[in-house]
Structures are given as C-alpha cells and as structure tokens.
C-alpha cells in the first residue's frame, strides 16, 4: 500500500475505539522494529553515536533506552560508546 493510502485509512475516525486499539498495536510494532534495527546495527559494529544519529536522538538517549534491552551476547567491544 502506498503511504498516502495508509494515512487515508489510518485517518479514518469512524470507529475510534478500534482505531485507538490499532494505534496501540502500531506502537508495539514500532518498538519491536526499532529494537531489531538497533541490534542489527550493533552486530554490524555501528557505534551508539551512529545509531543515535540515524534515529535522530542523542547518543545518551539511545544508549539509555537500548543498552540493557539488546542481546547481551553481542561482543562488548562493538557495544562501546
């Protein structure tokens, strides 16, 4: 689906109760995809600064949010700040 169509469907407010539940699912999916991308980046050797830059947040914010959540077996040297 084209992004314009997504926004048209997503902007349908005729059933807000279902719509709000759907937003909760979307938020959970975003969280899931974001963590998967951060782990993939660390495995590729990207630094927390590179990850933060790509996400558009500060290095401290990215590190605080994900340092514990990512797979702890990813080599420590690659998780260096």
């Amino acid at each position: 689906m084209e992004s314009t169509q997504i926004t048209t469907v997503a902007a349908d407010t005729s059933d807000p109760r279902s719509g709000l539940r759907a937003i909760a699912s979307l938020r959970a999916l975003t969280e899931r995809l974001e963590l998967a991308q951060v782990e993939a980046a660390l495995r590729l050797g990207m630094s927390w600064q590179n990850i933060a830059d790509a996400l558009g947040v500060s290095r401290q914010a990215a590190h605080k949010k994900y340092a514990k959540k990512v797979d702890q077996t990813i080599p420590v040297a690659r998780r260096a700040h």
Binding site: M1, Q5, I6, T7, T8, V9, A10, R17, S18, G19, L20, R21, A22, I23, A24, S25, L26, A28, L29, E31, R32, L33, L35, A36, Y66, A67, K68, K69, V70, D71, Q72, T73
Partner: protein, 332 residues
C-alpha cells in the same frame, strides 16, 4: 502460606512467563496479551480453566498475532508482523510491565483477594481496552464464559497453595504446567544428555546417552555452568565445577529422581531433584521436589541456621522456580 507470599509467587511466575513471551517477538514491555499467554501456562486453576476450554499456548499465541495483524490492517498496514523467534529473556534485559498490565495484577490482590492467578485472570477479563475480549472471540469464547468458569472452579475447589518450602529441611516442592505431552516431557527428563536443557547449574554432561535403558545407580560426570546466558561469567569455586549426576529413582513416564553431588568437594551438600509427571488437559502437570541433603562433614550451627532460614527459603523457591521455568522453556 500468607496472602503476601501467594501474591508474590504468582506475580513472579506470571511476570517471568509473560516477559519470556514478549521476548519471543522482540518486545521488552509485557502487555495484557502476554499476561493472557502467561495465564494459559499457569499451573493454578486459572490455567486449568483456560486449557479446559481448549485454549492452548499455540492457539492463544495465534489469536494474539491475528488480532494485532487485523488491527494493523485496519490502519492500512498489511505487511504482516515480523516472524516470532525463540525466548531470549535470559540473554537480554530491561523488561517491564505495561502500566495497564501492572494495574490488572495490582487489582487482583486488592479488596480481600489473594492475588492468585484466578484473581488475575478475573481482572484481566474486565480490562477496558477490549483487546482481550477480541482475542477471546478469536478463541471462540468470551470474558463472561471465562469468568463463569473461574467462579465455578473456585466454588468447588478450595484454594490450595501450589508450593511449599521447608527451610529447616532444606527442601521444597512446586507445581508446574508444561505445554507438551507426558511422553515428550519424559523424554527430556529421562535423558542424561538433555539435563543441561532444564537444570540451570549444569552446562554439559560427559558422553552420549546409552542406547538402551538407564538404570538406577548409573552415574554421569557433568560440568557446572560458569557462564550466564547473557555471556557474563559466574564465579564458581574450582571444587564446584564438576558434578556427578546419578539416577536414584525412575518409574516410566511417572516419576524420576536425579541426585547431584560435587565429588571434588569434601563439604558440599547433596542435591536431589524428584519430578512426578501427570497428564493434564493440553500438556503435563509436574510436581517438582528439591532437597539438599546435609553433608555429614559440615558442622551445624543451630543459631546461624535459624537466622539464615529466610534466605534458604528464598533460595530453594528460586531454584524450584528456575527448574520449572527451564523445563517449560524447552517446549515453548
């Protein structure tokens, strides 16, 4: 068993199972749908009620997945959800409950209730978002039906504590539900080479399984785990790095007892794990008994023992909890 310890042990068991379920799909926040999955796995009457309705872990996982997919499709996101993986809870961290899931658990121990899994399930049935209602519809049931069955189960069966710890005897027992047939669970528990899959202190058993039956009194040499699943090193004294594992009781698909000793330590106690298996709707009910037998070479200090009892109680309960969790994870 006090109300507090009932609520605390139920909360711990449900938290672990729910967060493990969240970890399978790459989430670190356990929400109400993960709480529902944890309740499907509960050894208490809540789990028995759900499983008696034909709800299995697989069908409940599928219903949760379908509900999220349908909700995303209503927003125009039709690509489907990323694939589900294995449980990675122990290799990762930063887990927490969502506010609404935590509120359900807290309400379940308020107002004179004991905070049992049935209380949590009852509260979950009335959660206000409608998400659980939708998931149950996909499982061909509804919150009202579940509530009626919980009431029925509680009316006919008085609450029985599902675990008991005797710190004075360094022993304890726990009930567990495993989502697999008795034969599969037996294959796991009977095989010496598979002990590292469920016994958290064992890293490796030397040699392969014998081709025929194993006999009472047979022994295997084992290496103690020195690394946690998240890669961190465990400091284990050299004399505790080797264990002998011996089969001490065995009744086909019904009962097994393993004994763990530390041959290089003159003062180590002996650990015995006895597991009874019973078929149950949707899987197997286990009764796990753990006992530490005192080494005769150890000097007994009664006052110190008395002071340490709360720690011993907690330690035994933790070990039992790890055992039941370890066996369950093999089949999830």
């Amino acid at each position: 068993m006090s109300k507090f310890s009932d609520a605390a042990t139920t909360s711990h068991t449900l938290s672990l199972a729910a967060m493990e379920e969240a970890s399978r799909i790459g989430q670190r926040t356990a929400d109400i749908e993960h709480l529902l999955l944890a309740l499907v796995l509960s050894e208490q009457s809540a789990g028995q009620v759900l499983r008696s309705m034909g709800i299995t872990l697989e069908s409940a996982r599928a219903a949760v997945n379908e509900q999220h997919s349908a909700q995303l499709a209503s927003l125009g996101v039709n690509s489907g959800l990323p694939p589900q993986g294995r449980i990675v809870f122990h290799e990762t961290g930063g887990y927490e409950w969502s506010d609404r899931a935590l509120a359900v658990i807290k309400r379940a121990s308020g107002g004179g209730r004991r905070g049992t899994a049935a209380d949590v399930l009852g509260e979950l049935m009335t959660e206000p978002s409608g998400m659980i209602d939708q998931i149950l519809r996909r499982l061909n049931t509804a919150p009202d039906q579940v509530i009626a069955l919980i009431d029925e189960a509680q009316h006919f069966t008085a609450f029985k504590p599902r675990h008991s710890i005797r710190p004075d005897q360094r022993s304890g027992s726990i009930e567990a539900f495993i989502p697999a047939a008795v034969e599969q669970v037996w294959d796991l528990l009977y095989s010496p080479s598979r002990i590292p899959q469920w016994e958290p202190t064992i890293n490796e058993i030397a040699g392969n399984d014998p081709l025929g039956r194993i006999h009472i009194g047979e022994r295997w040499s084992a290496r103690t785990r020195t690394q946690r699943p998240d890669g961190k090193q465990l400091r284990i004294k050299p004399e505790f790095q080797t264990q002998d594992v011996e089969l001490v009781a065995c009744r086909d698909a019904t009962l097994i007892e393993w004994q763990f000793t530390f041959p290089e330590s003159a003062r180590a106690n002996i650990k015995r794990i006895r597991i009874e298996l019973e078929p149950a709707a949707g899987g197997t009910q286990l009764h796990i008994h753990l006992r530490w037998e005192r080494n005769a070479n150890r000097v007994v200090h009664p006052w110190i023992e008395l002071l340490l009892r709360p720690l011993v109680r907690f330690g035994i309960w933790m070990q039992l909890s790890q055992l039941s969790g370890g066996i369950g994870r093999v089949f999830r």
